[in-house]
């Protein structure tokens, strides 16, 4: 990696995820400093920047799509990032949230708001400010083109480091035994 190159702009977000992958991202520990010699963060929970700048080089998406807002954010990333990386099991196949998929959404909403007491006075919230949930939770590659994936729940810091450094080195990312995990 040459240091005199312009730093790559990286944006990250968590959609229908638990931020566990972001925690894992921080697990690359002191290597973050090395990384920061090559990249700078744009929109990310780490910077608190709220929109993705056009011309961002790499977007890293944690989580799948469970509601309309997730879709908007994902599309914003796709529009503004040259490379999109899906990070973690939920981005890859919907993960834990997608385990609601065998239930009809109507049943879920009824159970949560009508049957169980104490929520929203027995009404399903309909404030336009709230994003509507999708009928099913979907992995992100079903809605926009995703260039790379880092599987894992969460992927280890080492796995994330490996994929990012492979990419920075212009190589096809590869995770060998030990780094490749779906759980």
């Amino acid at each position: 990696m040459s240091t005199d190159k312009k730093k790559l702009k990286v944006a990250t977000t968590s959609l229908a995820g638990c931020f566990g992958c972001h925690m894992s991202f921080l697990d690359i520990d002191e290597r973050l400093f090395t990384l920061l010699e090559h990249i700078e963060f744009d929109r990310s929970p780490l910077t608190d920047i709220k929109t993705v700048s056009p011309g961002t080089d790499i977007g890293i998406i944690e989580g799948g799509l469970c509601n309309a807002e997730n879709v908007h954010v994902l599309r914003e990333f796709r529009q503004n990032c040259r490379i999109l990386i899906g990070m973690g099991a939920c981005a890859v196949n919907g993960g834990l949230p997608a385990q609601r998929n065998h239930l009809p959404l109507t049943t879920i909403l009824e159970e949560v708001y009508h049957t169980s007491p104490g929520l929203s006075n027995g009404m399903i919230p309909n404030d336009p400010e709230l994003p509507l949930p999708l009928n099913k939770v979907h992995p992100i590659h079903e809605v926009v083109k995703i260039d790379y994936f880092i599987p894992g729940c969460p992927p280890s810091g080492d796995a994330i480091w490996k994929v990012l450094t492979d990419l920075l080195a212009g190589k096809e990312p590869e995770l060998g035994h030990g780094l490749m995990h779906y759980d």
Binding site: G86, A89, V92, N93, G94, G95, L96, A98, Q99, N101, H102, K136, H138, P139, H141, E142, I146, Y148, F149, I150, P151, C153, P173, E174, L175, H177, G178, M180, H181, Y182, D183
Partner: protein
Amino acid sequence: MSHTFTLDGKPVPFTEGQTIMQAASAAGIFIPHLCYHPEFKPHGSCKLCTVKVNGRHTASCTMRAAAGMVVESETEEINAERRALTQMLFVEGNHFCPSCEKSGNCQLQATAYHLGMMSPHYDHFFPNRAVDASHPEVLLDFNRCILCSLCVRASRDVDGKNVFALSGRGIRTHLIVNARSGKLGDTDFTLADKAAQVCPVGVILKKRQGFAVPIGERRFDKAPISATAETTEER
């Protein structure tokens, strides 16, 4: 009398009647597979073990070895095709590894690791499949079934019980159990059955035993699936 064929350029000895898979395993060479199990009659349905024999695709678990055969297995092309099949199996069912007790001991997962499957690629079917908890000792989670029919063969050929069978056709093919209620609890299935030990994925699970081995110490945490030609379950 022993003959040889070549597998990826290396001579592999075989005895009369052996399949390519059997000869390769005996020689310590790993060919990915899911529906094949050394103790049962080869089935040839998952197609993960497909190799090229003299340039033609064929399942190595059902193809008898012959002297002078030129077999290709570990090529970029074939592994890409195997990866695609694995991805098909992932999107066809509901495979959520983080919440599966079999994770780390699962052949589907380990095979996908071996093939470098970074994502399932295809659009998910998210089928609606049931879980059967009716049996006192065993849980059936059909979400993970890959239709390898190993339990069918084990129950029929070893246990003599016919507890399992495949029904339906095409994409609606599914596992059924031998009871009018359709519940495992109403069959004569027991934990001692061979069929209880052969599931390569997380469909047939012993109850009250989940996640007994910590992450890092499970079968395929310790060694990749390719490191062992033997595929019988470690429990």
